[in-house]
Each structure stands twice: as C-alpha cells, then as structure tokens.
C-alpha cells in the first residue's frame, strides 16, 4: 500500500463530500491539546500570529474564514528550519467532518502512530486516499 496524505474519518469514502458520520470537533481539540509536545496550533505559530496581527491586510470577505482557520482548526508539526515551514499539517474540517493531512516529507512510522492515536481518540479510521483503512499491521514492519 502506498500511503500519501492520510485522512482521518469515521468511514471510508470515495467522495469526501459524501461522508455521513462526522468527527467530533471537541474531541479533536482535546486530542491536540494532549499532544502539544508535538503539535502547534496554527494560531500559536509565528506565521499564525503574524496573520492575526495583520488582519487588516486580509480582505474582508476572508476575515471570518481566517479567524475560523486560526481557531484550533489546523495543527502543525515538525518545523523545518531550513525550509522555513512546518512539514506536517493536520487540518480539521467541520463541514465535512474529516481530518485531512499534508505531509511534505516521507511518512514514517511515528507519523502514523500519531494518526492512529488521533483516530482512536476520535473513534475513527486512518484512511489512505479515503478508501483504504490503514491499520497497525501496516506499520509493524516499519522502524
């Protein structure tokens, strides 16, 4: 199985807009809060702080969206000082009830471990391309 940017959702899906069982936003927040050693909320990053500080530069039609996006929606991890950005982004989507991820690096065992824990906490699955359930067997061989 080739894994790229896994999803966390309560059900497998071939179309993210058709997901029926939604993830709990509060459980999501709780989980990230327990893993503040690893994750940083977007609003707590330098980038996020700057955005919020310069809200006047944000077009009005985007302000609500920006505030929402900076309110415990995006958790980032693994900042790369050379690249100057976080290489792991986990993003909650309330409308769709899923969590999307962006990995700008190879996905390793510890990444999946975090996602498994998150999925367990949210009573959901880690999914590859939405369709494939990734379970712990997948990573048992990884280091």
């Amino acid at each position: 199985m080739k894994i790229s940017d896994p999803w966390i959702a309560k059900e497998t899906f071939s179309n993210v807009s058709k997901v029926e069982k939604k993830l709990s936003y509060s459980r999501w927040i709780e989980f990230i809060e327990t893993r503040k050693d690893y994750f940083t909320w977007l609003e707590d990053t330098e980038e996020g702080k700057t955005t919020l500080a310069n809200l006047n530069e944000v077009p009005e039609s985007f302000r609500t969206k920006i505030l929402k996006a900076h309110d415990r929606m995006k958790a980032l991890a693994e900042f790369s000082p050379e690249k100057g950005y976080f290489e792991v982004i986990v993003q909650f989507n309330e409308r769709l009830g899923v969590i999307g991820t962006t990995f700008q690096k190879e996905i390793k065992k510890h990444h999946l471990e975090v996602l498994f824990k998150m999925a367990e906490y949210l009573d959901a699955y880690v999914l590859n391309n939405g369709t494939q359930i990734i379970d712990r067997d997948v990573i048992s061989g990884l280091s």
């Binding site: 039609s61 969206k65 309330e94 061989g141």
Partner: protein
C-alpha cells in the same frame, strides 16, 4: 531487535546486490594469467547518462556472433580460416600497449626495497607482527589503508600462513603489498579508450612479475580507478541515423597477484570468489554513493575492499596446509552423452577394478578407457599420439573406482613435470553410467609444457570447448547439478523449440489472405533469435564474462524447464501458438495496429531496481524522485485504456519505477512498457534490416529479462533449490503469455497486461540528477509554449490535436503543454496566479485568481484545478484515484485553505476546469457531465471546454 534486523537486512541487501550485479553488469570478469596465477577483476561502472539498453544488448549481440563464428569453426577449420578466433577476439578486446619501462622499473625497485626492508625486520624479529604487510601508501604519503587493529589482525593471519609454509626460513612465505605504484597519468593519457584498461593490466602484470612479489607475495592493487571517454555509435530513433555519442565509463581495477609459491588451486577459488564479491561490493558502494546525498568517499570503498582481502587471508590461514609450487591448470568439466555401445563399454570398465592398467609413456590409463578415448577423439587420437609437429601428448585417466594410489587424474597431472613440448591431459571419470543414465561426467584438466605459448594454449582450450567441454566455474557450481549436467541437451532442445515457434516465411511472405505483417513477424522472430542467441551464449561459459555467464545460466534454467518438462513446454508452446494465431491477425487487421505492453514486475528487492536503473537509464522512472514517480505511476494508472492504446509511434520503452513508502519500508513496483506503435507497421518499407535488428535486439533483452523473471535470477543465484524456481519461471512465462493473450482478445486495439505485485523492502532513495535529462528526453517529442505561440492558428489547432493523440510517456509532457497553453490564454499571469511558481507539485490547485497577498497567505476568490481527459465517461473520470484525490483536497481546503511549501492559498470558490479533445466534445456530453458533477461534488464548480476555444 529492530536494529539487528535492519543490520541483517542490510547484509542481505549487500549480498543480493552483489549477486545481482554479477548477473546484470555489463562486464565483471576475472581473467586468469597462466604465468603467475594473476587475477584481475574488472568492474565497469557506467555513469548514469551513458549506459543504455542498447549497449547492453549490443554487448550480448557481439558475444553472440563471436560465439557463432567460433562454433562453425571446428578445431580444424580454425587453422584453415583466414580469421582466427583470436583475431576475432582481439577485435573486441584490447591491443597490446607499450609500457613506460623506465617508470615501471622505478616502481619495481621501490617495491623490492620495501620487501627487503621487511625481510630485515623479520630476520631480527621473526615474530614481528607488522612486517608481513607492505603498505606502500603508508610509506609514501603516510595515509595507511589499514588501521592498527586491522593491520595487526591481518599480520597475525599472515603469520599463521607463514608458519605453516615449508619455504625458505630466511624469507617469509607470504607478503601482502597493499596498493602499488600506479602508472603516471601522462603515461596513459595518450592511450585511448579501453586500451587504458589493457595498459593497467599489463603495467600491473609487469610490475608484479619483475618484483619479488611474484615469488611469494600477494599484491593488492586497490587504488586503481580509470575513467574512459569514448565515442560510441548509437542509433538515433528519431532521425533513423547513427550518431557518435560520447560515453563515460569509470572503471575500477583491483588487481590481486598471488605469488608462485603461494599457489594452491583451493585458494584460487577462494581468492577469486572473494575478489568477485569485493568488486561487486565496491560497485554497490559506488552505486550507493551516486544515489546518496552523503557520498561515501572512495577511501570508504577501498577500506571495505581491504577488509575483504583480510577475510580472504583469514580463510587461507584457517585452512592451514602448505603451499606448493605448481602450475595451476584450467579445469574443465564435461558431460558426454553416450550411445549404447559406449555406454555398455564404459559401464563395464568403470564399474570394475582395473587390476592391470595400460601404462605406456603416452597413456596412463588407470581407468581403462582407451577404447572410449579413441572414439571420443576420433581421427585425432592416433594423430595426436603420433606426435605431430613435435607435440608430445600424454593422457592420464582415472575413475571413481580406479585411482592411482588414491589420487585422481587431476591430482596426478599436477604432480607431473613436463617436457617443453608435452601436453598432458588428465581425465577423471566421475560416475558410472547405469541404466538410468545415458551420460558420463568427466573432470578434465590440461597442462602445457613451456613450449606452448599463450596463444596456443588458448586455442587448445577452445578445442576442449569445441568438443563440448565447459569450464567448471564457480558460478556454475552454484547451479543445481541436474540443471547443469543436462545443459547440452537443454541447449539443443531449447534452440529447437525456439526454432519451432518462429513464424515461418510462408506466414508473411506472399499474397495469402492469412499473411501476417512482415514487420511484426520480423520482430517476433528477431526476439526469438535473440533469445536463442542468449541460450547459445551460455556455451561460452567461462569465456563469457561472469555476468553474461550468470545471465546465461538463467536462460539455461529456463530452457531446461522448457526442454525437460513436457507439460510446461506444451503449455508455453500453446500460448505462443495462440498468440501467433489470434493476436497477430488482430493487430494486422485492426486499423490501429499497435502493441502496448505495460507491465509491472515483481521485484523482491530494491537492489534490482537499482540494477534496472543502471542498465536501463532510459527508463522513465530513472532520476525521478520517489514522489515524482508516484505521480507518474498514478498518472499512468489514471489513464484509460484508450490513452494507453493510442500509441502512434514506434517506441520501445523500458520504464522502471520505484515507489517509496518511506525510508524504512517501501513498496516497490517496477513498471515497464514495451510498445510498438502504429507507424511500425507503416514504416516497414523504410526500415533497413539493421534498424529492425536494432529494435528487436533492444526489445529482446527486455523480453528475455521479463521472461526469465528477474525474481528468479535473484533467487537462483542465492543458491536455493534451482529446480523449484525453474518451474516457477516457466509458470510465469506461461501465465504472462496467457495474460497477454487474454487481454489481447479483450481489447481489439491491442493488449495490455499488468502483473501487479507490491513488495516490501527497505531504504531506497533516488537521486534527482537524471530528472531534467529524463524530462528533456521526453520533452524532445513535445514543444515548448514559446514554440507553440509562434505557430499559426491552424497549426496551433493541429498541434493541440497531436498533443491529444499522444500516449504515455509523451502524454505527460503534452498535457503539460496544455497547461502552459491555458496558462497563457485563459489564465494569463496578468490576472491569474500560477501555483507552478510556488511549487510544481502544489497540492490540488493549478491557478488562482489574483487577489491580495499578506505574508505567506494568498487570498483568492477562485482556485482552479485544470484537468484534461480523453474519456467521455464522467463516472470513469470520477473514479480515477488521481481525480478523486484532487477533488477531495479541493473540497476540504475551502475552509482553511491549502498550504504548500509554507504558502497558504485561501479561496472562497473551488473550480475544476475540464478540457476534452475537440473531436470528442459535444454539448450533450457537457450537460451530462455537469449534471453528474453537480450532484457528486456539490461544493465544487465545474466548467467543461475544449482547449481550442481559447486558442487565438
């Protein structure tokens, strides 16, 4: 635990790789020099941008003809022929270079001086622990190869060897000379191409022979790299002409010389084996170096080499025993098929004690097989024994039952002292034929008196081969005995089999309704010829390079299965027959004649992928990052059958890919494509025999690799049970053919077969060096935006049509053209942002309406993903995993944007712009699509157009 596991895996990796390289590498050979048992291992390391399937195929072809030519020459014909085998060989090999004698003598003196110095040390301190090793590197520039610990350990081993030896007390029996003086650059600068290798070889040989090392030293020349630039004639596929192309080759020449007093055949194999392995490890390291960001220094490789040599020494020392001075003979092995008379004759003599052996001065027939020998040598028998042209032939025979004082003929030959004109043959009959066996196995050796010069020896060795003797090489020993012993039979049977399945002339020559396309027939026959050639190559055995021999072994095993397993043979034959009968008429009669063969091969190990990439740098995956390859494969998978089958050009592609899951556990897939386009049919009139040969030769190697099954190569050389694997091999072939046939029947347009296997392996990183080259290669078939814009409007439209018609791999570059073209006309930079400017692989979004920017945030009303497709079936389009992924990502980004490389695009509206070819676009399709998409993806807006509408 995990760490240990990884270490083990790494070891396996190294082992697998070394084995594989010997199978696949163009040339990794051991040459033997008769005068001082001088061995030379050469590993050719081809740089990425020059090694090609063509050169590899060419190599095989060359050897094949070489062999063919050789084969028709019997021992008699060789003498009469105007062109001797040696001459033929020379045309492929090296010329004799002139060595700078002065410089050589300086080096010899230095070595001898150092050895004398060490001798002095030993005289004063017999137990000196450091004086068995002469490290010229340490003495010249104080950069010793061995650290103290390794040095001590190696010396201790050498000490054991010396203590066990019975040589002169005043001198140690064994030295090791680490490193050596190498010819100065200016000496070899003027020497061109492969002659440099010859120069090195001769230089080292001379150095060794003239120095004290030749008596009781071991020479390890390990810092010998040579880079060679040469012009090679290649056939340009596009222009249909040949071109001179520079190729760069880095060669490594670790020489090992073993002193005459240290010679022992049992150590020969050990050293040879060790050297081979070392050379391969070296190549592995170099390969690793080229794909890793932290390139190991040459010195790392060399120290690995030295440690391997230390291992060899250790083995020698633990083996104990003394050394003796002797000519080491080439040993052969022969299996002879017997007729009834011979069989009963041998059965009798070999099974009974020979109490009164015939012992003349010429024939010591302990085995009692003189009648059989007469039959074997035919007319030669009496002529040889009558001492023609001053030749004195002596033969010693023994058998398992009848040895001489417990010694067999091979051992007896070793003990004989020869007159200069004597040729001594030793034949040891291994087993007794019985009712179950129609063959007799003989170990065979030839020892030459001093009058025989090298050339004569070679010719005679060829004679042994001509009468069916094969060198008994280490590689062959690894192979299942049964498979090996039946070799001659297999070879003939397989050749015959392949002859059977050739497409006969009557099938394509004439006006009959059933006639096949001549070109298609030619291609198929060409492939079969090449496979046959590979089979026959095997005959070269030890003569061919080790790698070729290895490769040959695989073909041999395949052939063995075909020849010996009736069921398999029938099965395979039937499949091929069906292909011939059903598929080719389809192809011929189909308006779109083409063959597309896209296959993904089971690969058990990353090493193999490296090998593929090494030998097939034209492979499209080569040089791409794992990420890019993923995209590429996904794209290929996303293509519908129409795309796959739309190949219009004559293309033969071999495209290996690697899919990396992560650095610790990978999922691997090697894909390769073998395509013959429509124009292949059209161009048959234009093509010369040579061109066809080129294409078929090119294809043949791929096909052979595919057929033989690279997985089996790995497994077989690992030494597991060969019989089981040959079985699987034939199974694979049969099922592969079946798959081809089935899909061929299903799709009138051609056949696509996919053998999908994913395998886990470990660490693999691809370098990106070849990326631009690969892209450029593909781009060559496409045009740039600038070029496009210069065209007239109608030409632009025509070009768009051409681009739509392109198949993979060109398709990706043509589709890129679409993106560029639309980026110019529809999403002009004056009012649109291009994510390409942030990153070529920006997630989900291609273009966005210009809005405002604050820091790393981009705010746009509309983000657009541009999609091109030839399919008119919307559900098919939606089901493609690449599309699904794209739409999901766009959808989920509406709230919090999409971040890539630290930049976030926030958008209020996600749009997907779909482009269909003008020929396929209709209002009905548009409506149908939009309705479906609206229901399926309510939060995304879709627009469907043709490219042409926007072109001005």
């Amino acid at each position: 635990m995990i760490i240990r596991l990884i270490t083990d895996m790494r070891k396996t990796f190294v082992l697998m790789f070394s084995v594989l390289l010997s199978v696949l590498s163009g040339r990794a050979e051991l040459l033997r020099n008769e005068s001082s048992s001088f061995k030379r291992a050469t590993v050719l390391i081809k740089r990425k941008n020059d090694a090609s399937i063509y050169s590899y195929g060419h190599e095989l072809r060359k050897l094949f003809y070489y062999h063919q030519l050789h084969k028709v020459k019997s021992a008699q014909q060789a003498v009469q022929s105007s062109l001797t085998r040696t001459q033929i060989a020379q045309s492929f090999e090296w010329s004799e270079p002139e060595i700078n004698d002065k410089r050589l003598n300086v080096a010899v003196k230095a070595i001898n001086k150092q050895i004398d110095f060490n001798n002095d040390l030993l005289r004063t301190d017999r137990n000196s622990e450091t004086s068995y090793i002469v490290d010229l590197r340490a003495s010249t520039n104080s950069a010793a190869f061995l650290d103290d610990e390794a040095l001590l350990s190696m010396n201790q081993k050498l000490q054991v060897i010396n203590q066990n030896s019975s040589t002169d007390e005043t001198k140690p029996a064994c030295y090791v000379l680490l490193n050596m003086f190498f010819p100065a650059d200016e000496d070899i600068q003027s020497v061109s191409g492969l002659d440099k290798e010859a120069y090195l070889k001769k230089y080292t040989q001379e150095l060794y022979d003239r120095s004290q090392l030749s008596a009781n030293g071991i020479l390890l020349n390990i810092e010998s790299f040579l880079s060679i630039k040469e012009l090679r004639t290649v056939f340009d596929e596009k222009e249909k002409t040949t071109k001179e192309k520079p190729t760069f080759t880095l060669t490594y020449h670790p020489f090992v010389g073993i002193g005459s007093k240290l010679k022992d055949s049992s150590y020969d194999a050990l050293i040879e084996g060790g050297l081979t392995e070392t050379s391969k490890n070296f190549e592995f390291a170099v390969q690793g170096a080229s794909t890793s960001a932290n390139k190991p220094h040459r010195a790392d490789v060399l120290s690995a080499y030295v440690s391997k040599v230390a291992q060899i020494i250790e083995k020698i020392s633990s083996g104990g025993g003394s050394f003796f001075e002797d000519e080491t003979n080439s040993e052969f092995f022969v299996e002879l098929e017997l007729n009834d008379v011979e069989k009963s004759e041998l059965e009798k003599v070999l099974a009974e004690p020979n109490t009164s052996p015939s012992l003349t001065s010429n024939l010591k027939d302990y085995a009692g097989v003189s009648n059989f020998l007469q039959r074997l040598f035919g007319n030669y028998y009496s002529r040889l024994f009558s001492e023609p042209e001053g030749l004195n032939l002596k033969v010693i025979t023994t058998s398992a039952y009848n040895t001489h004082k417990g010694q067999n003929a091979i051992q007896l030959v070793k003990e004989e002292t020869l007159n200069p004109n004597t040729l001594l043959l030793g034949l040891h009959f291994l087993d007794t034929p019985n009712s179950n066996s129609e063959k007799v196995s003989i170990r065979f050796t030839a020892k030459y008196g001093s009058q025989f010069d090298k050339q004569v020896k070679e010719q005679l060795d060829n004679v042994w081969e001509d009468i069916g003797l094969l060198k008994w090489t280490d590689q062959i020993k690894d192979i299942d005995d049964k498979a090996y012993s039946d070799f001659i039979f297999i070879l003939d049977a397989a050749s015959e089999f392949l002859e059977q399945i050739r497409i006969p002339k009557t099938w394509w020559d004439g006006d009959n309704w059933y006639n096949l396309d001549p070109f298609a027939s030619g291609v198929i026959n060409g492939i079969l010829d090449d496979v046959t050639g590979l089979l026959q190559l095997v005959v070269l055995g030890g003569k061919a390079s080790a790698s070729i021999a290895h490769f040959g072994v695989q073909i041999r095993l395949f052939a063995y299965e075909l020849a010996t397993n009736d069921t398999k043979r029938t099965q395979v034959l039937a499949e091929l027959e069906e292909i011939k009968e059903n598929l080719f008429p389809i192809l011929k009669n189909g308006a779109l004649g083409f063959i597309t063969f896209f296959s993904e091969l089971e690969i058990p190990d990353t090493t193999l992928i490296q090998d593929f990439q090494f030998f097939f740098p034209k492979g499209l995956g080569y040089g791409l990052t794992a990420e890019e390859q993923l995209t590429y494969i996904n794209n290929i998978e996303a293509l519908n059958e129409g795309d796959l089958g739309s190949i219009k050009e004559l293309v033969v592609n071999f495209s290996p890919f690697v899919l990396a899951l992560n650095s610790d556990a990978e999922i691997l897939k090697v894909a390769f494509a073998f395509e013959l386009g429509k124009t292949a049919w059209e161009k048959v009139q234009e093509m010369s025999a040579r061109e066809i040969e080129y294409y078929t030769g090119y294809a043949a190697v791929q096909v052979a690799l595919c057929f033989v099954g690279v997985t089996e190569i790995v497994a077989i050389v690992k030494g597991a049970n060969a019989a089981a694997k040959t079985f699987k091999l034939a199974d694979d072939l049969a099922s592969g053919l079946k798959a081809i046939k089935n899909s061929g029947e299903k799709t009138l347009a051609g056949f696509i077969t996919r053998l999908k296997v994913f395998l886990k392996s470990f660490d693999k990183t691809l370098d990106t060096a070849g990326l631009s080259r690969v892209k450029n290669k593909l781009k060559a078939g496409s045009i740039s935006l600038d070029e496009f814009l210069l065209l007239s409007k109608s030409d632009k439209r025509q070009r768009i049509k051409v681009a739509w018609d392109a198949s993979y791999p060109q398709i990706f570059f043509e589709r890129k053209l679409f993106e560029d073209v639309m980026g110019h006309y529809r999403y002009a930079k004056s009012s649109w942002g291009h994510t390409n400017d942030i990153a070529s692989n920006f997630k989900a979004i291609d273009f966005y309406e210009k809005g405002s920017v604050s820091g790393n945030n981009i705010f746009t009303e509309t983000a657009v993903s541009m999609k091109t497709t030839t399919t008119t079936d919307v559900s098919k389009w939606l089901n493609s995993s690449a599309i699904k992924k794209n739409l999901d990502n766009l959808d989920v980004g509406i709230e919090a944007g999409i971040t890539w490389n630290g930049k976030t695009i926030f958008y209020n509206k996600a749009e997907v712009h779909i482009y269909l070819p003008k020929e396929k676009f209709t209002e009905n399709i548009k409506t149908d699509w939009l309705n479906t998409l609206k229901t399926e993806r309510p939060s995304i807006q879709f627009k469907i157009n043709t490219i042409d509408e926007f072109i001005q």
